[in-house]
Amino acid sequence: MALLEIRNLAVEFATARGRFRAVDGVDVTIDEGEILCVVGESGSGKSVSMLAVMGLIAWPGRVTADVMRFAGTDLLGLPSRQRRKLVGKDMAMVFQEPMSSLNPCYPVGWQIAEALRAHNAVAKPKVRDRVVELLDQVGIPAPASRMGAFPHQLSGGMNQRVMIAMAIACNPRLLIADEPTTALDVTIQKQILDLLISLQKQGGMALALITHDMGVVAETAQRVQVMYAGQMVEEQLTDSLFSAPRHPYTAALLDALPERAMGRARLPTIPGVVPGIDDRPSGCLFNPRCRFVQERCLTTPPQLEGPAGARARCHTPLDAAGQPTGVAA
C-alpha cells in the first residue's frame, strides 16, 4: 500500500475576481522510502498542492479530493486536532525561503526543540541532547554552541540546515522539500541536496522533492510528476521520462536543458508564461505554448490517459521519436 495516496486533488482560493483553482485534478502517490520529484515552472501549483497535503492551506482557501490517505489514515474526514498529530511528526516539510521561514525571535535550538516537544518525541531531559544530535546530523559545525544562535546570525545555507533538522526531528515517514535550494548560492545548493538524499537513505523516509531543475530530477528521483497551470500533465519513471517524454510540455522542458542543447547556437525556450488567474485558455491549458496544437486542443480539455504510472494529459501524446500520435493526417 502506498504511503501517500491522493486522487483528484483541487485547491481553490477566493480572489477579488471570484474563485481561482490553483490546483486541479492532481493525483499523488508516494511509496514508503521513495523519492518523487515534482517539476514545473513557477506558478504551476507545486507548492500549493504540497501545502494541501500538509493541511497548511489557510482559510479561505479550500481543499477537495476524492481520496486523500496517508499511512492508512483518511485525511479528508480527519478532525484538525488529529491532523496536527501527524503533521510535523509523520509528515514534515522544508520550505523554499530559509531566511524567512524561521521565527526571528527565538534561537534556532529552541525552535527545533519545540518540534520535539510538540509531539513528545523524546523524554524532556533528553531534548537538548537530541537537538545537538540533529544539528550535528545536518552538518552544522559546533552544534552545541549554535543552539543559541538566532536565525539572523546564520547564513541561508545554515538556516536551511536548521529547517531540515527541524523537519526530521520526529523521524517523519514523508519529507516534503519545496524547492529547498532555490534561494541558496549555487555552491550550497548541491550540499543541501546531497544532505537531503543521504538523510532519506539513512532514515528510509519517503521524499517528495519539488524543483524546477531537471538536472536535479535526473540525478535523484525514481519517479517524476510534471505540473502545469495547476494540473498534473505527466507522470513517469525518471529514466523513461528523460528518454521518451509523452507530454509536449515535458519535452519542451527537457529541450531547454543546456546539456541537451549541445552544439546549438541558442538554448531553446518555451515561449510565453504559465497562465495565471484570468488568462487561462479553454481546452488544454498548454495550447497557447504548444508546438503541436490541434483543433480540439483549443476546445476540449484533455484527460490524464495512458498506462498506470505513465499517464499524460494530452490529446496527442508524443511517441518515442518525439512525434505526436493520433493526429489526423
Binding site: L56, R84, G88, F95, S100, S101, P104, M166
Partner: protein, 334 residues
C-alpha cells in the same frame, strides 16, 4: 548599548533649556502675576504690592528673571511654590504617585483589553467582530477626553450612582501614605472597605484615560498581527503541528508586539497629556491637577518646575521604550 544610553542622556540637556524657555515664556504671556492673583479683587496698597513683587524678583526684567531661574536650576534647585511656600520638588514627589497610579492602571487596562481584542480581530479578519471592533476603535481614539469623562460621570456616578466622582478614596478612611500608591497602601492597611473605596474612585478615571490607548493598541495589534500571520515562519510553526493558540500567541504575537510596544511607549507622552485632563475632571490629586491649578494661581515656579519634571519623565520613558524594544527584537540587539 552603553554608548547609546549615554548619547540619549546627553540629549536631555538641550531639551531642558528648550522646555524651561517655552514654559517660562508662555506663563508670562498670561496677564497677571502670582501676587495680583492672590490679593484678588480687594487689592492692597501699591507700596505693599511693589514690595512683595520685589521680594519674589518679579520687578526685574524678564530676561534677567529667566537667567536667574536657569542658574538656580543648574544648581539643582527647582524653587519654592509662591502659594504654599513648599518646595516644588516636595510637592511633586507627594503628588506624583497618584499620577503614576492612574497612568499605570490606565495603560494596563488598555493593554489587558486592547491586546486580546486586536489579536482576535486579526485572527478573525473580515468577521462582524472585526468590523465592529475597528469601528469602535476609531470612535475611541477620536473621543475628546473631557467630553468622554463627563459622559462617564453622568452615567455611572450621577444616574446609576455606582461610583464616586472625585478624589482617590472616601474621607472616612485614613490609610498610612506609605508608598503613595493608594491601592498598595490600602492593601497593606488590610481594610477591605478602603480597598473597595480606592478601586471605586480609580475605575472611572482609569477607563477614561485608558480609552485612547486602548483603541490605539487594539488597532495596532490587529494590523501588526495581520502582517505577521502572513509570514513564512508562521507557516513553519503550523507545519510543526502546533496548536492554533500556540502559533498565534508564541509565534505571531511575540513578533507582532515589537511595533505595538513602541506605540504603547510613545503613547505615554500623550497619556500624560490625557492625565492632566482626566485628573482635572475627576479632581484626582495628581501632578496634572496640580499643574492646572498652578496656572490659575500663576504659581510660576510650580508650573515651570512641574513642566520640566514631566518633560524629563517623557524622555526617560522613551528611553525605556527603546531599551525594551531592543530586548524584544533580537535583530537589533548587539
Amino acid at each position: 548599548m552603553l554608548r547609546f544610553l549615554l548619547r540619549r542622556v546627553t540629549l536631555i540637556i538641550p531639551t531642558f533649556v528648550g522646555v524651561t524657555f517655552l514654559s517660562f515664556m508662555l506663563i508670562h504671556l498670561v496677564p497677571g502675576d502670582p501676587i495680583e492673583v492672590r490679593v484678588g479683587e480687594h487689592g492692597i496698597a501699591p507700596e505693599r504690592l511693589a514690595q512683595l513683587r520685589h521680594e519674589f524678583g518679579l520687578d526685574q526684567p524678564l530676561w534677567q528673571q529667566f537667567l536667574t531661574y536657569e542658574v538656580q536650576l543648574a544648581h539643582g534647585d527647582l524653587g519654592v511654590s509662591v502659594v504654599t511656600r513648599d518646595t516644588v520638588w516636595n510637592e511633586f514627589t507627594t503628588l506624583f504617585p497618584a499620577t503614576v497610579e492612574l497612568a499605570v492602571c490606565a495603560i494596563i487596562f488598555a493593554m489587558v483589553v486592547g491586546l486580546p481584542l486586536g489579536v482576535i480581530a486579526a485572527v478573525r479578519r473580515g468577521s462582524a467582530f472585526d468590523y465592529g471592533l475597528m469601528g469602535l476603535s476609531v470612535t475611541g481614539a477620536s473621543m475628546p477626553i473631557f467630553w468622554w469623562g463627563l459622559m462617564v460621570i453622568l452615567v455611572f456616578s450621577v444616574s446609576l450612582g455606582w461610583t464616586p466622582v472625585s478624589g482617590r478614596i472616601s474621607d472616612i478612611y485614613f490609610v498610612e501614605p506609605w508608598s503613595g500608591f493608594m491601592l498598595v497602601d490600602c492593601w497593606f492597611a488590610d481594610e477591605a472597605g478602603a480597598c473597595a473605596s480606592a478601586w471605586g474612585h480609580l475605575i472611572l478615571p482609569m477607563i477614561v484615560l485608558g480609552t485612547i490607548p486602548l483603541a490605539t493598541i487594539a488597532r495596532m495589534t490587529r494590523s501588526s498581527m495581520l502582517e505577521v500571520l502572513n509570514e513564512d515562519y508562521i507557516r513553519t510553526a503550523r507545519a510543526k503541528g502546533l496548536s492554533v493558540p500556540r502559533v498565534v500567541v508564541v509565534h505571531a504575537l511575540r513578533n507582532a508586539l515589537i511595533p505595538v510596544v513602541t506605540v504603547i511607549g510613545l503613547s505615554v507622552s500623550s497619556l500624560l497629556g490625557g492625565a492632566i485632563l482626566t485628573e482635572t475632571i475627576f479632581s484626582w490629586p495628581g501632578v496634572g491637577h496640580w499643574l492646572v491649578e498652578s496656572i490659575q494661581r500663576r504659581d510660576y515656579p510650580v508650573l515651570q518646575g512641574g513642566t520640566l519634571l514631566v518633560a524629563v519623565l517623557v524622555i526617560l520613558v522613551n528611553l525605556g521604550v527603546d531599551v525594551t524594544y531592543s530586548f524584544l527584537n533580537p535583530r537589533i540587539r548587539r
